[in-house]
């Protein structure tokens, strides 16, 4: 079966800055793929290369079996796109936008358009310049969904949406996926992606640092432990154990992150006379934040 998205060593450099480095990933039809990363990690640049808005410095991408650059018109026909910083034509109303784009796409199913307008509660009769960011975003969603695309590429789609609308949006995505269509969405919020994505790719400083199913990532995620000993314990005794990171130590209290098997950590803990132990289940947040934290840039900004 043809993959919905395949990239091969996709790289984008601006002068000496590398925005995306050697990115290879594959998204299968019917998947909801969450593309996660901090701001400036290269999410939007990757998406722009997928849609041929930008030309890769190296590498290439195939969407729905077509070359992203050479067959861009065909890719665009079958794809719905919501840009990260959606900008519409300020003087036109929502209806005018929808009518024009529908026609430019060679006509769309009017009943679907009506359904989408109702579903996303689009304010259709006022010029876009008078609308809030959330209301503009809803028009963008209708424009992305209305031609029933085989692939939806959504760059930070929920920004500006209220929780109720986010919920509605997530339902819409599930329906799309259940029809065998594919969704590729970027976000910097794990919660959102965790709820709707089957698979997640994490990008940091232009590189794909993790790519797995949500369950797979959860298995690899660190488990947080808080231990209280009878008397103070040297953190070094635990930090040398495989898979253990000591995140805090205050006399007899210690907090740890354990990745993988917990038995080696427990054996060492048991030999030091523990009084109390609290273990929280593996949390994807911790994993995700650990990817964020490891960046030297973010450490600098945290220090301030």
């Amino acid at each position: 079966m043809t993959s919905a998205i395949e990239t091969f060593g996709l790289t984008k450099r601006y002068g000496t800055t590398t925005a995306v480095a050697d990115l290879s990933l594959r998204v299968e039809p019917g998947e909801v793929f969450g593309f996660l990363g901090p701001n400036g990690a290269g999410k939007s640049t990757t998406i722009r290369m997928l849609l041929a808005l930008q030309r890769p410095t190296r590498g290439r991408a195939r969407l729905l079996g077509f070359d992203a650059a050479a067959d861009s018109a065909e890719v665009h026909r079958r794809t719905g796109y919501l840009p990260g910083d959606l900008e519409l034509f300020p003087r036109l109303t929502g209806s005018q936008h929808i009518a024009w784009f529908a026609r430019a796409r060679g006509g769309v199913d009017a009943s679907l358009v009506e359904q989408l307008i109702e579903r996303f509660q689009v304010v259709a009769d006022r010029p876009v310049r008078e609308l809030s960011k959330g209301n503009r975003q809803k028009i963008g969603l209708v424009l992305a969904f209305m031609h029933r695309p085989e692939l939806l590429v959504l760059d930070e789609p929920t920004s500006g949406l209220d929780p109720l609308m986010q919920h509605e949006f997530e339902n819409a995505l599930r329906e799309v996926a259940s029809q065998g269509r594919t969704v590729f969405l970027s976000s910097h919020e794990l919660d959102e992606v965790q709820r709707i994505a089957n698979r997640i790719g994490i990008i940091k400083q232009g590189r794909l640092v993790a790519e797995d199913t949500v369950d797979g990532l959860r298995r690899a995620a660190p488990q947080k432990m808080e231990v209280r000993f009878r008397r103070p314990v040297d953190p070094a005794t635990l930090s040398t154990v495989t898979g253990v990171t000591v995140t805090g130590s205050d006399g007899p209290r210690m907090t740890l992150e354990v990745t993988g098997e917990i038995a080696p950590a427990l054996r060492v803990i048991a030999s030091h006379d523990p009084v109390d132990l609290l273990s929280r289940p593996a949390n994807l947040d911790e994993l995700f934040l650990s990817f964020y934290r490891e960046s030297p840039d973010s450490e600098v900004s945290h220090a301030g």
Binding site: L53, L88, L92, A104
Partner: protein, 260 residues
Amino acid sequence: MLADITRLELRLRRRSTIGYAAGMALYTLVVVALYPSFKNTTSLDSLSGSTAAALFGVTGPLTSPGGWLNGNIYGNFFPLIMLLLTIGYGAATLAGQDEDGTLALLTVLPLRRRAILVQKAGAMALQALVLAAAVTVCVLAGRGFELTISPGAAIGISVALVLMGLDFGLVTMAAGVGTGRRGTALGIGAGLAAASYLLSSLASTISWIHPGRYLSLFYWSVGNDQISSGVSAADFTVLILAGLVALTAAVIAFRRADLN
């Protein structure tokens, strides 16, 4: 039936198109209506021939119908407004929309970039034609004010000015997608147009500039006394070829451009 992007662009520019045409029509009517009051003031004719007059596009005797129109409309004000329109549009439609963030939505339609650009150029041509039609109609109304000029020459010059406007507009579009900046594109388009104007208007009085006039698109549209001799096939050929070169450059630049 208009192509979709042409239609959208005209809709977005509706007010300015009407504004340019209405303003220029009003100005033209005033100039035309004033002609009977000036046509016997032959002292005005001594103005032409000076460098200062040449700077304002005045070439022939001002009191002849052709000289009056050239000195007040075709030699200066009409090309200026035409260039404001086309250079302004050329900078706004690609570089400007890219800066605003709206170009991405158009670029992800199932259209090749060349088609997008050609449709935008079509919108520019239609805006320029509306302006030129307004001026031409008002100039021909001058027959009621003793301002007799051959309709062929009036229409010919208007068409030539539309073509010249498109030439500079397309150069501006190319500069816009090449640099990605509206301001830079405006500067390049306006700078080239200003240089072209000076070259053509001063060539008639400053001898060392004289051979350079062939490089000026003004020379090929209004600077070679087209008001009395008509716009020649050679004039049209140069204006059209320049447009095709600029269009090709714009298409090549747009196909390579990284957009936001």
